[in-house]
Symmetry: C2
Subunit: 333 residues, 2 copies
């Protein structure tokens, strides 16, 4: 059964291709009689419009390119869900690409997606460079950055207020009496890692605690690495009583290492995570963490993007949205 085309339907209905097209797209200028006739033929014939042709002709594909760092990480998965739901609701499909935090893959993904003529991009940038994202901008393809942003270039973006998140977590620990707080950071080219560090520093400063370089460690987003690192750190006698981690995902690795070193949470060491992934509350020692509205972040980003795609944007300035995080206190502190 090779696919039917408008021409086939037109022939069966004894009208022109144009008329069929009009009937199918609910355009005016078709008598309801011919329209009904066409529609019934379409229905019983099993005609399926070819969106490839439509996209080529109309110069819009109703498809969004979604470039995420790691779909198997529940943090990004939650964002992806928000994106997919929202896009679908507004009539768009998403082409999803994983970068594994590698800039080469991001670059490649951007290229292919431009070739496939996506109408816009949603990206959690790797941030090792931004040249290729700049090129998207220059091509005037709508674009929204998610969860991370660049200081150097202006773009639409939806981010978490990471400086505040870092501050809240740290200040809370300080108020619980902790003075030596280890921060397991993500890589600092990542804006969210950097800003959480800034929040951490500000909290220390406001409470007259001296910042110590050696209490900041990690600089990675890989749980496995952090687990190994943590085992080493415990042996270093750094004298910390609390740990703030870049993500819940990392906190899991940290806590496993700590437990294996026979330290008790929260008695020997308090742990605060970041993101509030679903699992955080289901742990045996539920994790105190900075709640981030991941689904909403995906949703808002998608809405901003589609608004721009469809020319509903107000003003010329990039649209940036910063979502406030919230500290969720559980049993790990």
């Amino acid at each position: 059964m090779s696919d039917l085309t408008l021409r086939d339907i037109a022939k069966k209905a004894g009208v022109s291709i144009t008329t069929v097209s009009r009937a199918l797209n609910n355009k005016p200028d078709v008598s309801s009689k011919t329209k009904d006739k066409i529609l019934s033929i379409v229905k019983k014939s099993g005609y399926t419009p070819n969106l490839l042709a439509k996209s080529l002709r109309c110069q819009k594909s109703k498809t969004i390119g979604v470039v995420l760092a790691d779909i198997s990480n529940p943090f990004f998965a939650a964002i992806a869900k928000g994106i997919e739901d929202t896009a679908h609701k507004r009539g768009y499909s998403i082409i999803l690409v994983n970068t594994d935090e590698e800039y080469e893959k991001e670059k490649e993904a951007l290229r292919v997606l431009v070739e496939k003529r996506v109408d816009g991009f949603l990206i959690t940038p790797v941030q090792k460079e931004y040249k290729d994202i700049l090129r998207i901008k220059e091509r005037r393809i709508p674009l929204v950055l998610l969860a991370r942003h660049f200081d150097a270039i202006e773009t639409n973006s939806v981010v978490n207020d990471d400086e505040l998140g870092g501050f809240l977590a740290t200040e809370y620990l300080i108020q619980k009496g902790h003075k030596r707080i280890l921060y397991i950071s993500g890589p600092l080219y990542n804006s969210s890692a950097l800003e959480r560090l800034n929040g951490y520093k500000r909290a220390l400063k406001e409470h007259q605690i001296q910042f110590e370089e050696k209490l900041v460690r990690g600089y990675t987003a890989k749980m496995g690495k952090v687990y190994t690192l943590m085992k080493e750190i415990v042996k270093e006698k750094l004298n910390f009583t609390a740990i703030f981690t870049f993500s819940d995902f990392l906190a899991l690795g940290v806590m496993k290492a700590i437990r294996e070193e026979k330290l008790k949470i929260p008695d020997d060491v308090a742990v605060v995570g970041y993101d509030d992934i679903e699992f955080a509350s289901f742990l045996e020692t539920p994790l105190t963490t900075v709640h981030m509205r991941k689904y909403r972040l995906g949703m808002e980003g998608t809405n901003i993007l589609i608004d721009e795609i469809e020319g509903k944007k107000v003003g010329e300035k990039p649209n940036t949205l910063t979502i406030k995080p919230e500290l969720i206190v559980r049993k790990s502190t």
Copy 2:
């Protein structure tokens, strides 16, 4: 900067469109001199091929439709990662759609993806019906079912040996001395839930333990529901000493409920999960579970699909692959 086309490049190079097309696609019949010239012009001009046009012309989109039940569930996320990696490696993009286990959404997704002319489908079917999947088959669009399969229709599929998984988990518990084993099942229209139940029953039978209907509960894949249900069950005095759950995801809900009811794992009640999602091993009481090769499942499914798309299929019969699971014993039993 409106997009350049082959025509623009041809004009600049002083050759025909055809020649440019040939040069770009590494076809023979172009002198290396003109080819070099064209390539250098292409490079400096920033030409980007329009894959929409190419797809329309060639009747293939190099895009796969991926229809998953719930991308925010780490089990599906892991499969998705395997799919994306593999597809990307072989030059394909994926359009991802979530169904939330709702048949209506699956149906709608299938329709849109056919319209977008994906070259093939990877689907974890909701299984409340199969009419629309049948239609895909009738259209002769390549298709691979993942993690679940239908008895009623023949299709390519890659599944876990769920009967065996259910058996292994149950027999292990029996060998640990348990006789009253609660099975928190997924919905039984889902083939994997049904087969795990069958494995559970077979293990009981082989060990001369009477099967009891009331020890099978749940019939849902939602963690929240299971959590609530579990709290009720504990109060029912069902007298069970072990629980086998349909998924690690559900096990999390179950364990939380159990702990809140002051029962100890594994002393008061042993728990076995299914899937072995990454978190299972990072829990404070690491979870005994049936390991499923999720990434591989996605990978194999994608390879089978692309082989069929590209006509590399051997034989006419559907290609079905069953991956053996493995029991991973940890501290929850």
